[in-house]
């Protein structure tokens, strides 16, 4: 049904989106927890910084990543020289760009669910003998799980279609960084690629819809399991 090139784009998109979610999720939980539970100085700044990718042109994010994570950049250079990891022009790089772009979505969903959890449960766990890590993993995290999963699935669905930051940072390389939207863009640039473009758009549409429906179903199921 799908041509090898289309399959390749779908596979790459899935790989990039899932890697970005796995990579970003622990950080998102941490940042959401800091924003919701800790009253820090510079709270507003951290909040604004986390949400920047929502308002910046994706090209700007891609450019900043290029400056920081390029093989000559301060972080990218170190990664390349010391660990032998190259991000630029690679699937891993595409995942990093996608993670940065979808990070605010994830933090938002997790933070909202965390703010809905009465801190009194954590106090109760405390008086019952649970230390900080214990109560985070036995009380806070299970109760915020609907938000964590909803955030992860939403970020995954959005990550399937990240375009601007990806093409700026890791370019458009078939089999390496040419994900669904990049393949679609390429098809539009190619004479007679209209039919392919339409098919790729339909695939994107379907995957996005499935992702959002799955997110809602999981959240509902979890809320029920948590007795809310």
């Amino acid at each position: 049904m799908l041509s090898p090139a289309e399959l390749e784009a779908v596979r790459l998109s899935l790989s990039v989106a899932s890697r970005s979610v796995l990579f970003a999720l622990p950080f998102a939980v941490l940042v959401a927890w800091l924003l919701a539970r800790r009253k820090l100085k510079g709270q507003i700044l951290l909040d604004a910084f986390v949400h920047l990718p929502l308002v910046l042109p994706p090209v700007v994010v891609g450019y900043l990543l290029l400056v920081l994570f390029g093989t000559r950049g301060p972080i990218g250079g170190w990664l390349n020289d010391v660990l032998g990891i190259q991000l630029i022009f690679t699937t891993a790089g595409a995942a990093l760009a996608t993670a940065v772009m979808t990070f605010p979505l994830m933090v938002r969903a997790i933070r909202i669910s965390l703010e809905g959890i009465d801190a009194g449960f954590e106090d109760a766990a405390r008086t019952l003998g649970a230390g900080p890590w214990d109560r985070f993993f036995t009380v806070t995290l299970p109760l915020m799980m609907p938000g964590v999963l909803a955030g992860a699935v939403t970020a995954f669905a959005a990550g399937l279609g990240e375009f601007g930051a990806v093409i700026t940072f890791v370019s458009n390389i078939p089999g390496e960084t040419r994900t669904l939207p990049l393949a679609l863009y390429t098809a539009l640039q190619t004479p007679g690629g209209d039919a392919l473009a339409a098919r790729l758009a339909a695939i994107s549409f379907t995957l996005g819809l499935l992702g959002l429906v799955a997110s809602e179903l999981i959240a509902r199921r979890l809320r029920w399991m948590l007795g809310r």
Binding site: D118, D123, A124, A125, R126, T127, L128, G129, D134, R135
Partner: protein, 370 residues
């Protein structure tokens, strides 16, 4: 011994409380909402940072700000039952009960799961989800969860406040049972005087963060500032006495109070058992000489110890009945007509039916007033 000294600046007032009582026993923190009761409870539990504090339970210092010693809340072993229960919604009832039990340090386990389940009547809903429990059942599970964490002190913050009257009556007997079953010091926060009457041995009356008075319920019940908290109609002296016996014909139970006797309707009266009764000041009648031909079943001889203005046109007469005081609220007119004055011998009349419903088995460790 339970020693609590705590100070904390709050919006509008400073909480400054010192409590020194023997253990075990039930200490009631009593006062209107907003008087600092819950703040004090959170300071004791270690959930709030005090400005200065010293808290010691049975020789273990939990906190002393002078030496900088402070055991964190998770190691204090204080069984806290919150007003809103705070059962974990992602665990079953059993999971909640086990949560504290699992975390109790080895060597402290003396309260067993089976015992608690049976005592609090939790057998039938161990596998239930928290969501499906009624308010009263939730509080019983919360009590069990706190008990199983093997606490050195049980801290109950208005555990009945969110329940309606019927549910409160459902939970109260369980509170009495666990008080009598485990020799645990208990701090009971409440703004309901009838709960205090049923449970407490030591009462701390709080107002705007300060202790108005504290001591045995019998003496606190005489304090003039109690009126502002419970309302004029609930003011009344509390007396403790031992059951003498029940008259099979009238069904009235005689209680030895001070040098006299009170006849009261009691459910199951066991001779020798200690009983606490409250005589509401508005129901007490005073007479300057013995009266006959009245339906009133109780007449006690006493002397007027003290007269204090109560309202614009009423006065509160304190009558010493020998080993205890009775409060009588009388109108200014009656005071003048009878020429009541301090030191005068007087007769106190109380209808047996007006005492009924205010008689409870006295809490553990309570001694008679005489």
């Amino acid at each position: 011994m339970l020693t609590i000294h705590a100070k904390k600046q709050r919006d509008g007032f400073t909480l400054d409380v010192t409590i020194d009582v023997t253990t075990p026993g039930v200490v009631a923190l009593f006062g209107r909402s907003g008087c600092g009761k819950t703040t004090l409870a959170n300071l004791i539990a270690g959930l709030l940072q005090p400005d200065s504090a010293r808290i010691e339970i049975d020789g273990v210092v939990l906190e002393d700000t002078r030496t900088g010693h402070c055991i964190p809340a998770e190691q204090r072993r204080i069984g806290y039952v919150f007003q809103d229960a705070r059962l974990f919604p992602h665990f079953s009832v059993l999971g909640n009960l086990r949560y504290g039990e699992r975390r109790a340090p080895a060597g402290t386990r003396r309260i067993a799961l089976d015992h608690v389940v049976q005592l609090l009547g939790l057998q039938s809903f161990l596998q239930r989800r928290v969501k499906d429990l009624s308010g009263g059942e939730r509080q019983r599970v919360a009590l069990g969860r706190a008990l199983l964490s093997q606490p050195r002190l049980l801290l109950l913050d208005e555990p009945l406040a969110s329940l309606d009257v019927a549910r409160r009556e459902e939970v109260l007997p369980y509170l009495e049972r666990l008080r009598d079953e485990f020799a645990l010091p208990i701090i009971y926060v409440s703004h309901q005087f009838d709960e205090v009457l049923r449970l407490a041995s030591h009462v701390v009356l709080l107002e705007r963060g300060s202790v108005v008075t504290q001591g045995r319920l019998e003496s606190v019940s005489l304090h003039p500032q109690l009126r502002a908290i419970v309302g004029p109609d609930a003011v009344g002296a509390v007396l403790t006495g031992s059951i003498v016996g029940t008259d099979p014909q009238s069904g009235l139970t005689a209680i030895a109070v001070g040098t006299g006797r009170l006849n009261v309707h009691l459910g199951n009266a066991v001779p020798g058992a200690m009983v606490r009764v409250q005589l509401l000041a508005r129901d007490v009648i005073l007479a300057t000489q013995p009266v006959e031909g009245l339906s009133v079943r109780n007449m006690l001889a006493g002397t007027i110890a003290h007269i204090a203005p109560d309202d614009a046109d009423t006065d509160m007469v304190h009558v010493d009945i020998g080993g205890g005081h009775v409060l009588a609220r009388v109108t200014r007119g009656a005071l003048i007509a009878l020429a009541l004055r301090t030191g005068m011998p007087i007769w106190v009349l109380i209808k047996a039916v007006s005492i009924r419903g205010h008689a409870f088995l006295a809490p553990l460790g309570d001694a008679p007033t005489s």
